[in-house]
């Protein structure tokens, strides 16, 4: 997710589809300097990061920002700190035992 948002063009794409569902072709129109395959690649990264949803309608693929973005960010942060505090607990308790072998 961090990687997905590191690119300014991907953030610009995300802004475009924040409130509207758009087909990739229409998204590409906003970036005349970028090739269509490059836009598809950006959309793929955003989709894999859970930041946009993809829906097929006939031959078109429609994209829209997922409102769950903040929830996903919070989940990521919570997992991050849960893991970190587990590591803290392990380090503190190991160090204490090493200092007090008879404790």
């Amino acid at each position: 997710m961090l990687h997905a948002l590191a690119d300014s063009r991907r953030r610009a794409i995300l802004r475009l589809v924040r409130h509207t569902e758009l087909p990739s072709g229409e998204i590409a129109v906003h970036f005349p300097e970028v090739t269509a395959p490059a836009i598809s690649q950006h959309l793929r990264v955003l989709r894999e990061a859970g930041l946009v949803s993809e829906r097929r309608s006939g031959t078109r693929r429609l994209y829209r920002a997922r409102p769950e973005g903040l929830r996903d960010l919070r989940r990521w942060v919570r997992d991050f700190w849960d893991d970190a505090l587990d590591d803290l607990k392990g380090a503190v308790e190991r160090d204490l035992q090493a200092q007090e072998p008879n404790a």
Partner: protein, 154 residues
């Protein structure tokens, strides 16, 4: 839960060591390195910097706001080069309370926003700062377009 906790992430754990022992792992770089980051530089005093590199990509940066041994540490927190959680954008508050021959650690991470939410704030402020600049220079910024938002659909 109070209102300010709604946008916060909370993580808690029990550690079998007294608070004064656990506290050191938040302010002593050698001890922090044992659980967080491989390169750590800390200035544990209000206004002092906080830098912990997990790896070359993930570099945590912040500033200590409160350092109260052995019960409380507060620091701003962000990741270098990360639009999700840029340095200075969020706050981490750690409270250590003695319990059951050990310590209850409670970590609260506040201020999390998506880049879009942050950008909306930013655009709002930039809009008004620009208008203020015009007005302060003796000009007329004109009616505020936000004062009468366009009605109806598209």
């Amino acid at each position: 839960m109070n209102v300010s906790e709604i946008d916060a992430v909370v993580s808690e754990i029990h550690i079998a060591a007294p608070p004064e022992v656990v506290f050191a792992y938040f302010v002593d770089p050698d001890k922090m390195r044992r659980w967080f980051g491989s390169r750590v530089q800390l200035e544990p005093r209000p206004g002092g910097m906080y830098a912990a590199d997990i790896n070359s990509q993930a570099r945590a940066r912040g500033t200590y706001l409160e350092v109260v041994p052995p019960s409380r540490v507060v620091f701003t927190f962000g990741w270098h080069d990360d639009p999700n959680i840029p340095p200075g954008s969020t706050t981490v508050e750690v409270t250590l309370a003695g319990e059951r021959e050990g310590t209850h650690v409670r970590l609260v991470h506040r201020g999390l926003q998506t880049p879009e939410m942050r950008e909306q704030h930013g655009q709002g402020w930039e809009h008004y700062v620009a208008r203020l600049a015009v007005a302060a220079a003796g000009g007329d910024p004109g009616p505020d377009p936000n004062a009468n938002p366009p009605q109806g659909g598209t």
